[in-house]
């Protein structure tokens, strides 16, 4: 897999033209109450790739996702999402762009006053899709996350893992071009975490969706780098050792508001940086 290019190496962005990446951060900085969270970070997410974003608690991982969606504005720098510069767009125009992107929040953020199918169908209802089409797509996507039986249930009746899967269903129901996951396996037991990792992998390998995966569980990202989804058996399978570099998977590590690593699994394993070695050990 080719190493991601630096911002200066992207001629489209340098010329102020739409970026050719699914997502691109260019010298983005943000501070909250004078505490610098991101200090000029730059990275790119190529189309079809899944990038795992690591960092200790408070390192700004969730902030990166909110910035990417334009939910918050950076103090400086530029962010391109699907070729549109979100840092320059008005909130009104961002609503259109966000319909092409899916996000899974850390605590699922399901609408607790709505039933599961209403949560999943929320965007389709807003787009005035026909009732038959909504039902078909909601059932299909709930089947994808293996939760069709929860169709008529309320979020309060679901377990934490089920809520995450419903949140994934809500994010993918409109077949977005980019998916952003905020700690989708955080606080879950290993079995449920594995199910969710498998779902993310299925989305990557079956639908070829570009994804940014915020996580603090290194094993999840390594599983994604060493496995691929097998459509025939409907489960993930280990990739033979010689073919591992072919998986569209990369890693990004944040530390002290800076990007200290951006590369694939092989480069990560070969890193000589003490912090990274300690982090992955």
């Amino acid at each position: 897999m080719p190493a991601p290019t630096l911002p200066s190496e992207n001629p489209a962005a340098a010329a102020g033209k739409p970026s050719g990446y699914a997502l691109e951060f260019e010298n983005v900085a943000i501070a909250f109450d004078e505490k610098v969270v991101l200090d000029g970070i730059s990275f790119q997410l190529p189309h079809g790739e899944t990038k795992a974003l690591f960092g200790v608690a408070g390192s700004g991982k969730s902030t990166v996702l909110k910035l990417a969606m334009g939910l918050i504005k950076p103090d400086s720098g530029r962010i391109f999402l699907l070729g549109e510069e979100v840092t320059r767009m008005r909130e009104k125009d961002l609503y259109e762009l966000r319909r092409r992107v899916g996000i899974v929040f850390q605590e699922s953020a399901l609408f607790d006053s709505l039933k599961v199918y209403e949560n999943v169908a929320f965007r389709l209802m807003e787009e005035k899709t026909s009732a038959e089409e909504i039902e078909r797509r909601v059932r299909e996507v709930l089947r994808f996350v293996e939760l069709e039986r929860t169709y008529d249930m309320r979020p309060s009746e679901l377990s934490g893992g089920m809520r995450r899967r419903v949140a994934i269903a809500r994010a993918i129901v409109t077949e977005p071009e980019v998916l952003l996951y905020d700690s989708p396996t955080g606080g879950l037991d290993p079995v449920t975490s594995n199910t969710i990792v498998e779902l993310i992998m299925k989305q990557r390998d079956v639908h070829k969706t570009s994804s940014l995966l915020v996580t603090h569980r290194l094993q999840d990202a390594f599983t994604m780098a060493t496995h691929q989804f097998d459509k025939a058996t409907n489960q993930m399978a280990v990739i033979p050792k010689g073919q591992r570099g072919e998986v569209p998977m990369s890693f990004l590590i944040l530390r002290g508001g800076k990007v200290i690593f951006d590369g694939d699994a092989r480069e990560l394993a070969a890193s000589r940086d003490d912090y990274i070695r300690e982090y992955i050990s």
Binding site: R98, F105, E107, A109
Partner: protein, 264 residues
């Protein structure tokens, strides 16, 4: 353990107040502007109208009846001394229709619904549901704020009319049962006292109060920070701010109407 008090400069406090007023004004203006653009959430507005209007009906009925009866009781004691008990209908109708009906209804609905809106929206903010809505491409001010504003203004108008009517009925009950006033005498005096200005005053106020109740409730809800504790704080602040603002606006509206139509 010694408590550490953090001193905040008056300039910072003034800046925070100015910022809050600016944010509130923007939200209120946006909630009105949304009526003129698509999408329009008719279903959500009807749902809110049911919650706010039908849900508030019991307290509005009770307070309307009680306030009318109390007004008649207090007025009758004084009027009886001057042998003018027949004026009781005039007093109750003027008091209820121009002032107490809108005010009491506004305060009751503020207590019930401003707090409800602040806590509901506040909970949505702290559980990232508002961010999720924005991420799903839906404007929360259109989906959540504007339907509440429209429904409160519309329903408060009718709730006030109900409170006025029940206040008059309460007054009649006291005047007839306790002071033996003739039914026709009471209702004729109620009817004849009221002029256009009184009815206009009594119906313009609920529209303004409804707007205050909904925009204040939504503003405090949408600006909630700090988890469940923040939700509680927003709820209390919404009720206090809406009630105070209703009383202040009531005074200025009454004064303005007197200035336009002249004193009786």
């Amino acid at each position: 353990m010694a408590l550490e008090l953090e001193l905040i400069s008056p300039v910072e406090i003034a800046k925070d107040i100015a910022l809050a007023v600016q944010e509130y004004t923007l939200l209120a203006a946006q909630s009105v502007a949304n009526f003129f653009s698509r999408p329009r959430y008719i279903g959500d507005t009807l749902h809110q109208a049911d919650l706010i209007g039908v849900g508030s009906l019991p307290i509005v009925i009770l307070t309307g009846l009680s306030v009318g009866a109390l007004l008649a009781l207090n007025a009758a004691t004084t009027l009886q001394r001057f042998g003018s008990i027949t004026l009781i209908g005039q007093l109750v109708s003027l008091g209820m229709v121009t002032e107490l009906g809108p005010l009491i209804t506004g305060l009751m609905v503020a207590g019930r619904n401003s707090s409800g809106m602040a806590s509901e929206l506040g909970s949505m903010v702290v559980t990232e549901q508002i961010d999720a809505m924005r991420a799903l491409g839906t404007d929360p001010t259109k989906k959540l704020v504007t339907p509440r504003v429209g429904a409160t203004v519309f329903m408060l108008f009718f709730l006030t009319i109900i409170a006025d009517l029940l206040g008059l009925v309460g007054g009649y009950g006291v005047a007839h049962l306790l002071f033996g006033l003739n039914t026709r005498q009471y209702w004729t005096s109620v009817w004849q006292t009221l002029v256009f200005r009184d009815v206009f005053t009594g119906l313009i106020k609920p529209a303004l109060f409804g707007f205050i109740i909904a925009t204040i409730g939504c503003y405090y809800g949408m600006s909630t920070r700090g988890g469940t504790q923040g939700v509680g704080r927003s709820t209390t602040q919404a009720v206090v701010a809406a009630s105070v603002l209703i009383l202040v606006v009531d005074f200025f509206v009454t004064k303005l109407i007197f200035a336009i139509f002249g004193y009786r």
